[in-house]
């Protein structure tokens, strides 16, 4: 997994609440495409008209937001379906961090598995960032510093953000959960043996019917 340390980049405002993962990537795309092919289909329903031409006023179709690597989002960003393809599509577009007042809970875990940093800031802070970015017609860059757990506005304004130490460490080093957990097999086996003894009814051998 690609490590995440400090990112300074164009930030695209998407302040509407409840942008769901269906909106980020349509379900049909999961059928035919590989995870690394999804970038062009991120926000497909917003980016393109039914005839395939671009919707000119959609933020990610406008300069300089076409080059955005940060999204400044509204509350409950990426709510809904658990499809990890939402993260793959954002990564494919080039996004490395989303800053929002809140996130869909499954999306957050999916981000951590793919080197995308979800940053929770108060709604007022996200709005202040959006105002600054829009005042500069998008050309003022925002910095997300995971080492310092700080978001830095173009004007130099700073907001601290909270992130669990475990997740921060994994993102900074690009660590993979699976390898770490595999190294704990002895603990897992011991837990399972205890649980099988205490709750044998929970471990089916075969169906009775």
């Amino acid at each position: 997994m690609e490590p995440f340390t400090v990112l300074t980049a164009i930030a695209a405002p998407m302040p509407e609440p409840n942008i769901d993962t269906d909106m980020i990537i349509r379900i049909e795309r999961l059928r035919d495409l590989e995870p690394h092919q999804l970038g062009p289909y991120a926000f497909e329903n917003r980016r393109y008209r039914p005839d395939g031409s671009e919707t000119p006023d959609f933020v990610l179709n406008r300069e300089p937001y076409r080059r955005a690597r940060i999204i400044l989002a509204g509350p409950n960003f990426a709510c809904g379906s658990s499809r990890e393809a939402a993260v793959w599509a954002l990564r494919g577009f080039g996004v490395r961090s989303v800053i929002a007042p809140s996130f869909g809970p499954i999306f957050v875990n999916n981000c951590y598995q793919n080197g995308l940093l979800p940053v929770v800031l108060p709604e007022a802070a996200v709005r202040a960032l959006i105002e600054e970015v829009e005042a500069a017609a998008g050309r003022a860059e925002v910095t997300v510093d995971l080492r310092e757990c700080t978001v830095i506005a173009p004007s130099g304004g700073r907001w601290r953000f909270e992130i669990d130490a475990l997740r921060r460490e994994a993102l900074l080093k690009g660590l993979d959960d699976v390898a770490l957990t595999l190294s704990r097999e002895a603990e897992i086996a011991a837990h399972e043996a205890r649980d099988r003894a205490a709750r044998a009814w929970l471990y089916p051998a075969t169906a009775t019917g």
């Binding site: 409840n18 379906s81 959960d177 603990e187 649980d195 019917g209």
Partner: protein, 466 residues
């Protein structure tokens, strides 16, 4: 003195393998349910040279991509033939029991888990689907995960998770006639919002929840994720035990007695503390219907859609305007009377036998309105067979509904079952998102009885007045 523990704490704590610091734990998974969307993690597992650690705790079925066309064959949904072949082959190689098309056990993964007795009180259930919270209706901690987490569970039978905070929602009082579990949960989402449950595991309690049958509790928990809560659950009780007794994978004999003793200790202690409490008067809830593109955009069927001019917050005003525009509705108009093109009765929210009975009770002896396409998609092969044994398929067909084969179908429109662009559907599903039932489709969420009433009336109608 040890503080009281909640139902959620008791189940969560029993599955902690190790504390990892920073509020995270390594959690043991006691049931892993899979579906035909899980091809990517299975492929990646193999590519990494890893094996399925606990196939005996892993169960699979086919639901997302299968055809629901009457008389379907393996060739009916040929676009997905490769996907189905992949999961069949990989499941067989790994020793995972897969419930295939045509056999009892096949169906929507959140219908078959409870139905087979795979989903048990006190277990920790995961599945690569956000509506896994459904299984909480039996008193389990159940939540949806992404593809990387699915791979993690396959390889280790564990997951790295942060323990959520606890919320309790108490529905007190008694539901009025015509008001279902679907109306209760939609009303709650309307009240606390689509992000109201973010960061929480939600226990549903109170007299009106105790009074619910298990299938109704599954519906209630199914929409937990629609208020941002990954986990929703109801304490197991005699209703739960009666439901589970004798199911194929439920414990039997001495194991059943041991399970019962354990399960009776699961309900939250009297002095359990919750981080947030919400109380709702169930008696004040009317049948609900969504008007917008988020489940929080919901009203009682006798109310009007909102007027964005009354919303002071600009981002929210814009969201209301965009939703009304997409849905083709006028600000401030009554929701009842809106003409519909489609009715879809199905999905992991509402496709169980009690849902079909409720819809059939409305449809019996009536006709689907001219020009309305009305589908009934049973949640599983077992539901389908039971409904046919009761003659419900005839009731639906005589009324002009199409009776189809079990699967997810038009809820997420992955298999090609879709509502055409610009057309309006009343659906018993859980998501009214933009494009969810097909690009440009307009979805109104409601209970099965309300959906059947819309099919008969040709417009959004109050089932209590039919």
């Amino acid at each position: 003195m040890r503080p009281g523990r909640s139902l959620f704490d008791k189940i969560w704590d029993a599955h902690v393998v190790a504390e990892l610091g920073g509020g995270h734990s390594l959690m043991h998974v006691t049931r892993h349910l899979m579906h035909d969307g899980d091809g990517v993690p299975l492929q990646r597992l193999t590519a990494r040279g890893l094996k399925v650690r606990s196939p005996e705790l892993t169960f699979a079925t086919l639901d997302h991509t299968v055809s629901t066309e009457p008389g379907r064959t393996p060739a009916t949904a040929s676009a997905f033939a490769a996907r189905l072949a992949l999961i069949r082959a990989r499941a067989a190689a790994a020793g995972i029991r897969l419930f295939d098309i045509g056999e009892p056990g096949q169906g929507i993964v959140h219908v078959i888990g409870p139905e087979l007795g795979l989903s048990l009180p006190g277990s920790l259930i995961v599945c690569g689907d956000s509506h896994t919270c459904t299984h909480g209706g039996l008193g389990a901690v159940a939540f949806g995960i992404g593809a990387s987490e699915v791979l993690h569970v396959l390889a280790t039978q564990c997951l790295v998770q942060r323990k959520p905070r606890r919320m309790r929602v108490r529905f007190e009082g008694r539901r009025a006639a015509g008001v279902t579990a679907k109306d209760m949960i939609l009303h709650l989402i309307g009240r606390i919002g689509a992000a109201g449950g973010v960061g929480y595991a939600v226990e549903f309690a109170g007299a009106a929840v105790r009074a619910l049958q298990i299938e109704e509790r599954l519906t209630l928990c199914n929409l937990s994720i629609e208020m941002g809560a990954k986990i929703g659950l109801v304490a197991p009780d005699e209703t739960t035990f009666e439901y589970l007794a004798g199911r194929p994978y439920a414990p039997a004999g001495a194991a059943w007695e041991a399970a019962l003793r354990y399960w009776r200790g699961l309900p939250s202690d009297e002095d359990a503390v919750f981080d947030r409490e919400v109380e709702i008067d169930a008696g004040a809830i009317a049948p609900q219907i969504t008007w917008g593109t988020s489940p929080e955009q919901v009203v009682a069927v006798d109310q009007r859609v909102p007027d964005p001019a009354a919303e002071p917050d600009p981002a929210r005003r814009q969201a209301i305007e965009a939703a009304l525009d997409y849905m083709g509705l006028q600000p401030g108009a009554p929701i009842a009377g809106t003409p519909v093109d489609w009715v879809f009765i199905g999905s992991c929210a509402n496709s169980r036998i009690s849902d079909l009975r409720a819809a059939a009770a409305v449809a019996r002896g009536r006709r689907v309105a001219e020009g309305v396409h009305a589908w009934v998609v049973p949640g599983s092969e077992a539901v389908k067979r039971q409904a046919e044994a009761e003659g419900l398929d005839r009731v639906f067909k005589d009324a002009g509904f199409e009776w189809r084969e079990p699967g997810c179908s038009m809820c997420l429109a992955m298999n090609g079952d879709r509502v055409p662009r610009g057309q309006r559907s009343v659906s018993t599903t859980n998501r009214n998102f933009v494009g969810r039932q097909g690009p440009g489709a307009r979805t109104h969420l409601a209970s099965p009885a309300m959906a059947a009433a819309a099919a008969i009336s040709g417009r959004i109608a109050d089932v209590r007045r039919l």
